[in-house]
Amino acid sequence: MNDPHLLSLTVNGTEEEVLVEPRRTLADVLRHDLRLTGTHVGCEHGVCGACTVLVDDAPVRACLMFAVQAEGADVRTVESLDDGVRLSDLQQSFSEHHALQCGFCTPGFLMLAEGVLAESPDAEREEIREALSANLCRCTGYQTIVDAVHATATSRRETTA
């Protein structure tokens, strides 16, 4: 029943092979098998968004995917955002705007925002606000998260213009 499957996927640019029980969620495999603990788990039923990662560039809930469904997929987690020395522009913006307090929801918001900004680089504040309603934050009251993402969107537009 629990026969493990050999799963191959790419995580943050590295090809990984993992032996997983079919019922293991992608979130658990990322965190506990691959030890990428930046992706957090807040509800395990797809509402809080703390486990949001990019799968083939789209933001998805890692708790709502069995890892075996990610066969061959390209997964990006929060660990991919900085270069080891400097924060990314989005991470920097979160810090500048005090868009995190306890930091538990933060990786999910960062990956959600990266997904949203990649698809809608022209997004204005209200569109960003609606997109960010996918995830829960209990600390900030959200305002500064919207500010941080909006500021990043604006500065990226200025950079590419």
């Binding site: 029943m1 079919p22 968004g49 709502l64 959600l112 949203v116 609606e130």
Partner: protein
Amino acid sequence: MKPAAFTYHRAHDVADAVGLLSDLAAAGGDPKVIAGGQSLMPMMTFRLARPSALVDLGPLRRMPSMTTIRAEGDHLTLGALVTHHAVETAALPDGFAVLARAMRWVGHLPIRSRGTVAGSLVHGDATAEWCLLALLLDAVVVAEGPSGRREIPAGELFHGFYATAVDHDEVVVEVRFTRPAPHAALTEFARRHGDFAIVDAAVALDLDGGSVTGGRVVLGGVAPAPVRVPEAEAVLASGGVAGDALWAAVADAAAAAVDPPDDAATTAAYRRRLTRTLVADACRDAAGGLR
């Protein structure tokens, strides 16, 4: 909160999926298809669903027929693995543009990125946007089973309480929308953005200039399955000038016709009152599509 154990099977094509479902069931199992899994996985996590086996349609994503959106004449055909988000971002013909506009009500972006149109229809939630849209635009669900393909019209699809006409050994291959509605809208009310609606309403208007000549009214959250409301459609069919007076009459007729449940979530009276608000709002939105 961890799913019970199951065996996992990747389908390589539709026939393979159908074969797996039959074989696993014949062996005494209780297999289930998983596509996006956005409805199934929470139920499995709570162990409210505990299939003995999952047949994953994921590999079928490489088949164009499963993931493309095709407009052919007056029909719009969605492959079974088309995601909500693919519809949201697609350039659709006017007659089906309501589909794209309605997608903002489907959960949130990460759900829409994984969840599929067919999966939502087969799940059969009485408030699911796709279920309302299927009734609004005369969808036909094409399912393949051991004895071949068959077409299930939306009117015969929903049996209520999450039961549908798609059999356990069948795999949906595409969904065809056959009734274009250039003046259509879906709206809903939930206490929190992105949640399952308490009540949702979809309206399609037949417009001749500024006059209404007919239309459809579909409601979710007022019965065990999504329903059309003939009493409200009759008001539209009797015609009139597009405007708030007519919308109010349609809304009143809908609210009077439904017999919504009193449950833990809220009262029948409140659902009835929401029906009135939402039907009028949907009519207004649908007419606004006139431009």
